[in-house]
């Protein structure tokens, strides 16, 4: 941003002719328009990726006592990668992330789909209910973590409703902690599914739906044969969005359980955080970060090309 405006101001008088020419030349102006974004991209993508690649082949940690650019002194020929492949904690965290994904995303999808189906026609109060339904996803995830932290306290309302004693704690139990986190995630992100799927559902031409009903199709039949196939793109977008976001899940877990008890809710993001500031294995974190980036990029490319084909 500054890169663009600074020369404009300073050169305004001395070089007035240049900027007038730029304003008259679409390509030149476009170049200046794109420049700040390009610079930011280079700044945040190219440079960090190279640094990450470099560090991932070294032992370097902040404990090393040498600046990162001298990390070549502790070059380790990719041992980090081998360490990663054989690190049970890494795979555990990865598995837990995937677990949240394969439980929460389908749950959000089905709930969102059912809700969208409820909201497909007009009915009195729809606008109000619709607004209410959207609220959870607008709430700061950290606050959602706090909300469910409060709810799942032993002395909180959930235990009270279920008649459970305060000792029956959800967040500190080996099994229930994960379930609690997943419930919170479902609560927050079902509305997103709902929103996107409803938009897709409303995109199905209403006369085709009517035609299907008049042809004798039951609601179920019409839903599966007419609505669903027409929503394919929307569904893929919604699922991909959520699945990707699941990989980032951090705030919720960190505030609700801090990855605990033990490592029972340690997702990949929490694991990376702990490795960064707990074990301080920065080169190793760089290795995992880079690997995840590459894996996700390949998946994303596959997904995008699949979508482009459709």
């Amino acid at each position: 941003m500054t890169d663009q405006t600074a020369p404009e101001i300073s050169n305004n008088h001395a070089n007035a002719g240049y900027w007038t020419r730029v304003a008259r030349d679409g390509q030149k102006m476009g170049f200046w328009f794109v420049l700040p974004t390009l610079l930011l991209l280079v700044f945040i993508v190219v440079f960090p990726l190279l640094m990450q690649l470099y560090l991932s082949f070294t032992w370097w940690t902040p404990l090393e006592g040498i600046p990162w650019y001298q990390a070549w002194e502790v070059f380790n020929w990719g041992e980090n990668y081998w360490y990663m492949v054989t690190d049970p904690r890494f795979w555990g965290a990865l598995w837990r992330t995937v677990l949240i994904m394969i439980v929460a995303v389908p749950a959000q999808f089905f709930l969102g789909m059912a809700l969208a189906y409820l909201f497909i026609d007009q009915f009195p109060g729809r606008k109000l209910f619709y607004s209410i339904m959207l609220t959870p996803m607008m709430i700061v995830p950290a606050v959602v973590g706090l909300m469910f932290f409060l709810l799942f306290q032993g002395t909180g309302p959930i235990n009270d409703h279920l008649g459970l004693p305060p000792e029956f704690s959800c967040l500190t139990d080996v099994n229930r902690a994960m379930i609690s986190v997943i419930i919170a995630d479902i609560w927050q992100w079902t509305p997103l599914m709902f929103l996107i799927l409803l938009a897709g559902m409303l995109g199905v031409p209403s006369d085709q739906l009517l035609a299907a009903r008049l042809l004798g199709g039951s609601n179920w039949q019409n839903f599966f044969k007419i609505i669903l196939p027409r929503m394919k793109t929307v569904i893929i977008i919604a699922l991909v969005l959520r699945a990707v976001e699941c990989f980032k899940i951090f705030d919720l877990v960190f505030i609700m359980t801090n990855g605990g008890p033990g490592v029972q809710t340690e997702t990949i993001s929490v694991f990376l955080y702990n490795q960064t500031f707990g074990e301080l294995e920065w080169a190793y974190v760089a290795t995992m970060g880079l690997s995840i980036l590459i894996a996700l990029s390949i998946l994303a490319m596959k997904g995008l090309s699949y979508m482009a084909k459709k």
Binding site: A23, R24, V34, L40, F47, F123, I139, A142, H161, L296
Partner: protein, 278 residues
């Protein structure tokens, strides 16, 4: 129809349940915080002392006091969110316009999108090294810069769809009338997409305001944002101070919910990077 209302009301109840608990908790006095003395949904003795406590550091009837009030983090959150929004919206607007109108940098949209796919923690090591090298840790501009970069994809894609909706004929007409490209952009196109620009700014602001992780990594003391402050207090206060935590949560939750409802119409577009419009 009755069945439908039943399900709709049920869904709304599930949505409101945790919210209600937190919001009413913020107005409850200490004895009502837990269900030990029985569950109360609405405060029997409503009080503002929780808010008083987090704003002034102490409250009547409480033996404890707070050494850092919410004021600093509130200001930090506002400043960094707004500046981050500015960076994202300005860069996103300019570059998406260039991509849409001048056909420049056709690979930009995808690269920008990829930026969003990555878990921020996976690039955090270099970012922290860079930020500390720049002396940007725990400064308002350092946090604003990363906010701007992280939300740039949203601003870019959102503005792209808005620009695509402006008929090119309008611009051509103005250009035939002798306007420069810059003037056409600034005087014709920008005013047309103004509502879109406002939507985009609000959307990006919500995202910035909602951040926790980046602020957790890149601030220490002076520019700690609201969610980080909230989480620290949450763990620092232990289990007891439920009411204060809830009051914090309510304050942090309000702006995005209001703004979100304001831009309801465009949420789908924003969240799907313009892939879907409502």
């Amino acid at each position: 129809m009755a069945l439908k209302y039943f399900f709709v009301l049920l869904a709304c109840a599930v949505v409101l349940y945790p919210l209600l608990w937190m919001v009413t908790m913020a107005f409850k006095p200490h004895p009502e915080w837990t269900t030990v003395a029985g569950l109360t949904w609405f405060p029997e003795n409503p009080t503002l002392q929780n808010f008083e406590f987090i704003f002034f550091g102490r409250a009547e009837g409480l033996v404890v006091s707070l050494d850092r009030t919410i004021v600093g983090p509130l200001i930090a959150s506002l400043v960094t969110s707004i500046m981050g929004t500015l960076v994202a919206v300005v860069c996103g607007t300019l570059s998406s316009y260039a991509v849409v109108r001048f056909g420049l940098a056709q690979s930009l949209p995808l690269s920008v999108l990829q930026l969003r796919l990555f878990p921020p923690l996976a690039v955090m090591i270099p970012v922290m090294v860079m930020w500390s090298f720049l002396g940007a840790v725990d400064t308002w501009w350092g946090l604003s810069l990363i906010y701007g970069i992280v939300t740039l994809p949203f601003a870019f894609w959102l503005m792209k769809t808005f620009f695509e909706e402006v008929p090119v004929e309008i611009e051509d007409a103005a250009r035939v009338a002798g306007c420069s490209y810059w003037r056409v952009f600034y005087r014709i196109t920008l005013p047309i997409v103004k509502p879109g620009l406002a939507t985009c700014a609000l959307f990006v602001f919500i995202l910035n305001w909602s951040d926790y992780l980046l602020a957790l990594l890149l601030t220490q003391r002076d520019w700690v944002t609201l969610p980080v402050y909230m989480a620290t207090l949450t763990s620092a206060m232990g289990g007891q101070m439920y009411g204060m935590k809830a009051a914090l949560g309510v304050i942090a939750a309000i702006p995005p919910v209001i703004f979100g409802l304001m831009i309801q119409k465009h949420l789908v577009r924003g969240l799907t990077f313009g892939a879907l419009k409502q």
